[in-house]
Symmetry: C2
Subunit: 163 residues, 2 copies
């Protein structure tokens, strides 16, 4: 199996794939008479197609064994999809650029505790992958009619290692 | 000052104002081959008006002294606004029905640890009100052009008490 080592997630290395959702950005300003600091516009939730709307959901994920044997990725042609952890633990993020006949070789990242991500619309990505413990997330993604899920199964699985 | 006692937040008592965002709903189903449970469609993020889009932001709020002296509420005519706590602590939620000449008498709720809320579009509500400690939240609300903030200052403040 091709071995891939996950990198620490950052705005810079994730920029080709989507947004990092954390308090590390520059676009911040005080609100409510100075009682709160808003970290503004970290990501846009995108929803298109018939009867599209942006949904707020939650998910409770069970952990995966590491190294991860990656056999498939999926994508959502009609909307972005964000996962924000509700407990400060790392999780694994796997994404692929699109190639001519399916996803290209995977890129893997470890989100630091407190970091969430927003997958750009139609980006190939792995399923939600907590590490070590059960973990809850907020999901912001697209609801509506039409087909919004495409899966790709690799003929040769990849093995994703933590750093 | 008129004294109001906050009630524990529930789907039922908050239904006239918006959505409770937690894992207590009935609309849940397994995803990812049974490795995760999705608590689906807890709320819809609504955004209308010129160049409207749904934003994902964060906010760090400082606590307010209790009982709260409530002097103003605000509303957003062009979109809903959700606050989901990123640490499991309670916070205070204040909302008002609309009356003929401004907001009606406030209703106050205590969100249990882990509960977030989505204010319906154009609902009068108080500012973000952590209790006891600084607290971080995810915000899902509306970006775009046009005026999306209206404030109302009460001639006689209310005093909001914890239960």
């Amino acid at each position: 199996m091709t071995r891939i080592v996950a990198q620490p997630l950052s705005r810079e290395n994730f920029a080709p794939f989507g947004d990092v959702i954390d308090m590390g950005g520059d676009n911040r300003y005080p609100i409510n008479g100075g009682k709160a600091m808003r970290y503004h516009d970290l990501a846009t939730a995108e929803a298109m197609g018939p009867n599209a709307r942006v949904l707020i959901s939650m998910v409770r994920g069970t952990p995966y064994e590491m190294p991860l044997k990656l056999t498939m990725v999926e994508r959502h042609p009609l909307g972005s999809q964000a996962f924000i952890p509700l407990s400060p633990r790392p999780f694994l993020v796997v994404v692929c650029h699109d190639a001519e006949d399916g996803p290209d070789e995977p890129h893997a990242f470890i989100a630091a505790p407190g970091q969430g991500i927003n997958y750009r619309r139609n980006l190939w990505h792995g399923v939600l992958t907590p590490i070590g413990e059960e973990q809850d997330f907020l999901i912001i993604d697209r609801g509506g009619d039409g087909s919004n899920l495409e899966e790709f199964h690799f003929s040769h699985p990849y093995e994703i290692h933590l750093p």
